[in-house]
């Protein structure tokens, strides 16, 4: 149990795929609405979900990664049916038609609902993404020890 005897959820978000991020934020927002204390630990490809649309990278490879996997959450592609961006466009149209919230809006709602978001320090170092590249509301980076403590205390643990 988390603070004040609340139920809690601890989630690793490793994927940067659009579909998986939808799942992650729908669950996070649902949990927050149900009064749960929510921790999202973003690592590797998941980091872009909390990134602003800014250039990152210090070294040649870091800059290359920042260019090829740059932008923000709106650049995420579906894990299947991607077709070099066509899939994103198509799902965007389909979801818009069915009045599903946009992914970036869901992410911002999560911040608003008090979901605790953390970047993984090690992935941030490797991928050369500094804390100031993240949106407001993302807490200072942490490591696996912090996540595991949260996961131990949590009633629900997920890996996405």
């Amino acid at each position: 149990m988390g603070d004040e005897g609340k139920k809690s959820l601890a989630m690793v978000v490793m994927s940067g795929d659009m579909d998986k991020l939808f799942g992650a934020f729908i669950i996070a927002n649902g949990a927050a609405a149900m009064g749960m204390d929510v921790t999202m630990f973003f690592t590797f490809w998941g980091l872009r979900a909390i990134k602003k649309d800014v250039r990152t990278g210090k070294t040649f490879f870091g800059k290359m990664l920042g260019t090829m996997y740059g932008g923000d959450i709106t650049k995420s592609n579906p894990s299947k049916f991607s077709f070099g961006g066509m899939g994103r466009w198509m799902f965007g149209k389909m979801m818009g038609k069915h009045n599903v919230q946009k992914l970036n809006e869901m992410r911002d709602l999560a911040v608003q609902l008090g979901v605790n978001m953390y970047g993984c320090q090690m992935s941030m170092d490797v991928m050369e993404i500094p804390q100031d590249a993240f949106i407001d509301g993302v807490k200072e980076p942490v490591g696996v020890g912090f996540f595991l403590l949260k996961a131990q205390e949590a009633d629900v643990q997920l890996f996405i």
Binding site: G30, A33, M34, G35, M36, N99, Q101
Partner: protein, 80 residues
């Protein structure tokens, strides 16, 4: 049904999809006093399962959840 219940807040959730009906009820429950009632109208069939689950988890009460044509009407009572 519960025509005798006094409604403190009307909530239009029509057109909203998962998880928003539940999120909106959650965000608005503190806008009624303890013991107060929200009347929420949704069109997402999933809300029929989600809003009672939300109430169970948060310790509030769904007085009624009924399908009326294409709409789902909830009376949600704030218990704490």
């Amino acid at each position: 049904m519960s025509d005798d219940v006094k409604v403190d807040l009307e909530l239009d959730l029509k057109g909203l999809l998962c998880p928003l009906p539940m999120v909106k009820v959650s965000q608005n429950i503190t806008n009624v006093p303890v013991g107060g009632v929200i009347r929420a109208v949704a069109t997402d069939p999933g809300a029929m399962a989600d809003i009672p689950a939300w109430a169970q988890s948060t310790g509030n009460e769904v007085l009624s959840a009924e399908k009326e044509g294409a709409e789902f009407v909830f009376l949600v009572k704030r218990l704490k």
